[in-house]
């Protein structure tokens, strides 16, 4: 099919882009006092990761017909924002590990985790203030990114409020749109603006990234239940023990026909000390009820809709990368 990059290729392309962006990511936080804060704020962004967000910023600038290099500082800013939210998230969730690293609040204490997040947030917007774009373009970029961070905080609060209760499909989608999609979308739209994209292009990549984000997060929730902990770095069964309301759980509760099985499932869901056997049983029940398949199909559907939004863009490396990125979002093992 025209424009497809294979999944093996996209992993390679992401690795290549990640290597390209590592330098810039390491260039904005100078050696200042106090060293403890500077170190703490560097830890997550310097440690790597999939770098999907910065890659999307850069590709959007290219797809919009602009100079990809001009979007690099914005790509760094978006990655810093992502990492600032991870630092605060880990603190709020009390998580002790992230990708094998000790989390910031465990390694440096709660106050420094709060400040390191704040500092990365500030640095991100300081970088935006220096973007090599016309002044008239800086304003919409600033507006879209600030709005995204406000929405992100709303999404994270919703996520907290949802804990321990069953949410509707609509609530689930709204939460993941806010906590995941808006930052992808701000990055994509901001990238297109850096690239001099017209309104139609900016809007299209924004919609693309909103849809991709939903698919990405749905698939992330899938990995949280069915993924390989050795690869995902997440404790298996944690989402079930926390009773996290995902599309799989919502679907299962509506679809399990046998009342006895339904009771059994409900008893495991949110049971903090559920055994490994019970976790396995919950997985089996959700598979049998078609809920796992349903979630994967729905994530696929979002990726498909995302791709549709940018189909009109001129063919080329950047558009192809964005198409492959949408597929990768819902078909990865990490």
């Amino acid at each position: 099919m025209d424009g497809w990059i294979t999944l093996t290729d996209i992993v390679q392309v992401l690795k290549k882009m990640s290597a390209e962006i590592d330098g810039p990511i390491r260039s904005y936080i100078g050696d200042e006092e106090p060293a403890k804060l500077v170190e703490a704020s560097r830890q997550y962004p310097y440690a790597g990761g999939k770098r999907m967000r910065p890659a999307m910023v850069i590709a959007s600038a290219g797809a919009a017909g602009g100079d990809r290099d001009k979007a690099v500082p914005l790509a760094v800013a978006i990655e810093y924002i992502h990492n600032f939210t991870l630092i605060h998230d880990d603190l709020m969730d009390g998580d002790e590990k992230r990708r094998g690293m000790t989390t910031i609040h465990v390694g440096y204490g709660m106050p420094t985790a709060v400040l390191a997040g704040d500092a990365l947030f500030a640095k991100a917007f300081e970088i935006i203030s220096t973007l090599d774009v016309p002044d008239s373009v800086l304003r919409p970029i600033l507006r879209i990114v600030t709005k995204a961070v406000w929405d992100l905080a709303r999404g994270q609060q919703m996520d907290i409020d949802n804990e321990g209760r069953i949410v509707s499909m609509e609530e689930y989608i709204e939460t993941i749109r806010l906590k995941t999609s808006v930052l992808f979308a701000a990055g994509a739209a901001g990238g297109a603006l850096c690239g001099g994209g017209d309104e139609r292009t900016v809007e299209a990549v924004h919609e693309y990234a909103m849809l991709l984000g939903v698919g990405f997060q749905m698939f992330d929730d899938y990995l949280g239940i069915m993924g390989d902990p050795a690869k995902t770095g997440k404790s298996a069964g944690n989402d079930i023990r926390k009773g996290k309301s995902t599309v799989m759980v919502t679907h299962a509760l509506k679809s399990i026909d046998d009342p006895a099985v339904l009771e059994e499932f409900k008893a495991i869901l949110g049971k903090q000390d559920a055994s490994e056997d019970e976790i396995q049983r919950a997985r089996r029940i959700m598979t049998d009820s078609g809920s796992i398949g349903y979630a994967k199909d729905l994530a696929d559907e979002y990726a498909r809709m995302a791709v549709e939004k940018i189909a009109f863009l001129p063919p080329g490396e950047d558009r192809d990368f964005m198409i492959a990125l949408a597929r990768f979002s819902v078909d990865r093992d990490v």
Copy 2:
């Protein structure tokens, strides 16, 4: 003396300006979901306070010869940033009360306190993105405010690192420049930019506010030890019990001649369960050593230097207000 507003008057003027800005401060956070986050982020900014920072933004715009109204949104943004740092500060310090209110982390829980701070921070920059100034002016405003927040985080980390150790006068000044002055200065310079001020004016009000901020914080530390807890809302003696290193403490340690008194003073400093009598004794020692007087004189000197920086501005209500504000910073009971 030309241009002086009396201290009684400045309190009235601040009250009037505070009333004017209350409406705008309440206008930017709409009723959105989740209600808990929105409520938590509104609590501090809606509760009032001295409103020194927003007043300074507005006066700077006027003193620079511009339209004060155009600086109002920036004044709100600076006040939101101040309040975001208060929310995170209270969480980091474990404080349970602020101006008689229950602090956010106590009232809403730690995660919502983290998010409410982040949300206010984001909202502040969203407001900045909508400022009614030429696009070319938006960029320097953004740069100066983002840099200020980065520096603020550094200052707060230094403050934490300083706990329980005696810092030099230079370290003390550097810490309060970062944790207090830079936001005043960003507000003043940003206000002058909103008012169309030229480079000399912007620089002058920036320096004015940096100096004022140092005086303000020195006087704040003075109030923390000698102020009336019923007025300041701070627990008397807390700074002594925490062993907080202020200009008074640094001076006292160098100036106490009698070795026995010095030992006595050191024993009380940082003693978490120091009695009220011991606190009184520490106050007396610092008064006798001239340290209290020294700190007050030094704060006065900073206010005087601040005033000098803006003496060249055209006489008028706004310049007079800024002069009075500098004096008020170092001569208030709250």
